[in-house]
């Protein structure tokens, strides 16, 4: 195709959008709804994922040692645990003194003088331990069993239920979000293809004239496809831009109004969400616009 013919197709595609204002508006509106839903959904899922991940990192496995275990042995156990980089994200050593200070902070906060009597005789003398934070709570059980086998380890405390709930929740969230995304895309493709089909039936006359004059299939298709791509572009750029501002406002609002939540929920920054959402949304929008118009016009081109 010559450049001049291509430019003509681009111009015709843009003019067609204007000529069929109602139809174009309907298509853009459909697209906006789909991308908007997709965007909102993505923002929610990404944040939930984020919260779960944070919660996972807060789950600790605590390792206590046999009485009389030397510092070298304790250090060796620590090294063995640290070596499991695929499961372990952080290992923290808490000495008996630190454990006591922490305990006092937690339970004698209001009257520290009660705790002063124990200063010479640490009641938690044997409570030096490792707090281990995990990358992946699903593997907690496996890790606990391994550490229990190590020499000098007296016992391993873990909260298997929290770990199970979190990892199950994570998996469910994954499947659920995948399902919704597939459903949304299917709906979008269906709606766009329907709207394009309506547009084509309105312009059957024009298409048949083009074919009789001797237009190639490519030439007949090009304006429709360009139209679809432009509608896809507008229909995805617009909702994502709107969402960007809404998201910032919502995050700000929640953090201001429900300050007590900030300890439990921390939102992902808008930049991080939209760094993914913008390219993916545009790709989906343009992709649906292109495929929807291309496939539909192909089906209707048998003149």
């Amino acid at each position: 195709m010559k450049l001049s013919a291509f430019m003509y197709s681009v111009r015709q595609g843009l003019k067609n959008i204007w000529r069929n204002k109602i139809f174009s508006l309907a298509s853009v509106a459909t697209m906006i709804c789909c991308i908007m839903m997709f965007g909102i959904f993505y923002a929610i899922v990404a944040n939930m994922n984020h919260v779960v991940q944070e919660a996972e990192q807060g789950v600790a496995v605590v390792v206590y040692f046999d009485e009389g275990t030397t510092e070298e042995q304790v250090a060796a156990i620590g090294d063995q645990i640290r070596a499991k980089t695929d499961i372990v994200s952080e290992v923290e050593y808490v000495s008996a003194e630190e454990a006591w200070i922490e305990f006092v902070g937690d339970y004698f906060k209001d009257n520290p003088e009660l705790a002063s009597g124990f200063e010479q005789d640490n009641p938690l003398a044997n409570s030096n331990h490792y707090s281990i934070y995990l990358n992946d709570v699903a593997k907690q059980d496996e890790l606990v069993k391994e550490i229990e086998q190590m020499e000098g380890v007296q016992r391993v405390d873990s909260n298997q239920m929290v770990a199970d709930v979190l990892s199950d929740f994570n998996a469910v969230l994954g499947y659920f979000s995948m399902g919704i995304v597939v459903l949304l895309l299917a709906v979008a493709v269906f709606l766009i293809s329907n709207t394009v089909a309506v547009g084509i039936s309105v312009r059957k006359n024009e298409i048949s004239i083009m074919k009789l004059i001797g237009a190639t299939d490519f030439f007949v298709r090009a304006p429709f496809v360009i139209e679809g791509v432009v509608i896809g572009l507008v229909g995805s750029l617009l909702p994502i831009t709107i969402l960007y501002f809404i998201y910032k406002q919502v995050v700000q609002f929640v953090e201001m109004r429900f300050g007590f939540l900030t300890g439990i929920i921390s939102f992902l920054p808008a930049g991080q969400i939209f760094g993914v959402l913008l390219p993916v949304g545009l790709l989906i929008g343009i992709g649906i616009g292109f495929l929807g118009s291309f496939l539909t016009i192909r089906k209707h081109l048998r003149v």
Partner: protein
């Protein structure tokens, strides 16, 4: 220009619409095809454009065997043929200039050529000054003249008109016919499907008459009066 040999076209039910037609039309001829509704005129027209495939027989148009033509070769083939229809088939949403320029863009003509050719084509049908008008602002006769200009702007070897005067009053019908005659005198082969008795009688051109899908008469300088 056109050669049909034993061409038949049958639809799924009923008698064949075109039944064993053999005819030859030479370059530069002016030919009327007449007959009642259902005689097979429109089917013949569509066969020549390769809008329909014949059930049997061979069709050659402008030196090309339509049966051997691939689908992707059809657009190039149709560029040799200008078409005019009873219902004009103009694009209602654009002005006359764009309607005719459209035909040139379709064949991927150079924009500089288009800028010259479109006013010339409009002038040749006497509508040069109305280039900005929309088809709906024109009379039927004027619309058909625009359709003619569009058919001619690509300089086809063959012009085919399907009932071009069917929607026009006698005076406008005559104007269209005069234009067709002039186009023919400039060297284009013209094929007109019609049942306008007066015009056919008056113009004294070759007349092919169809009846139930068969050629029942083929007379040079004929007319409806040759009817049996």
């Amino acid at each position: 220009m056109i050669r049909m040999e034993h061409v038949s076209k049958a639809y799924t039910t009923g008698n064949p619409a075109v039944n064993d037609i053999t005819l030859e039309i030479n370059q530069g001829e002016f030919v009327f095809i007449i007959g009642n509704s259902g005689a097979g005129k429109t089917t013949l027209f569509k066969l020549l454009l390769k809008e329909l495939e014949p059930t049997s027989g061979t069709i050659t148009v402008a030196g090309q065997d339509l049966g051997a033509m691939k689908r992707r070769e059809i657009p190039k083939f149709r560029r040799n043929i200008g078409c005019v229809f009873q219902d004009f088939r103009l694009l209602q949403d654009r002005n006359l200039y764009d309607n005719i320029a459209f035909a040139q863009y379709v064949i991927e003509e150079n924009p500089r050529v288009i800028k010259r050719a479109v006013p010339a084509a409009l002038a040749s049908v006497g509508l040069a000054e109305k280039y900005k008008a929309l088809p709906s602002e024109l009379s039927g006769g004027e619309q058909q003249r625009v359709a003619l200009a569009r058919a001619l702007v690509n300089k086809p070897q063959l012009l085919m008109a399907d009932e071009p005067t069917g929607n026009l009053d006698p005076q406008n019908a005559w104007e269209i016919m005069k234009l067709l005659e002039k186009i023919n005198e400039d060297g284009t082969t013209v094929l007109v499907v019609t049942h306008n008795r007066e015009i056919v009688d008056a113009m004294k051109k070759r007349v092919i008459m169809l009846e139930e899908g068969k050629i029942v008469s083929d007379v040079s300088e004929g007319g409806y009066s040759h009817e049996a």
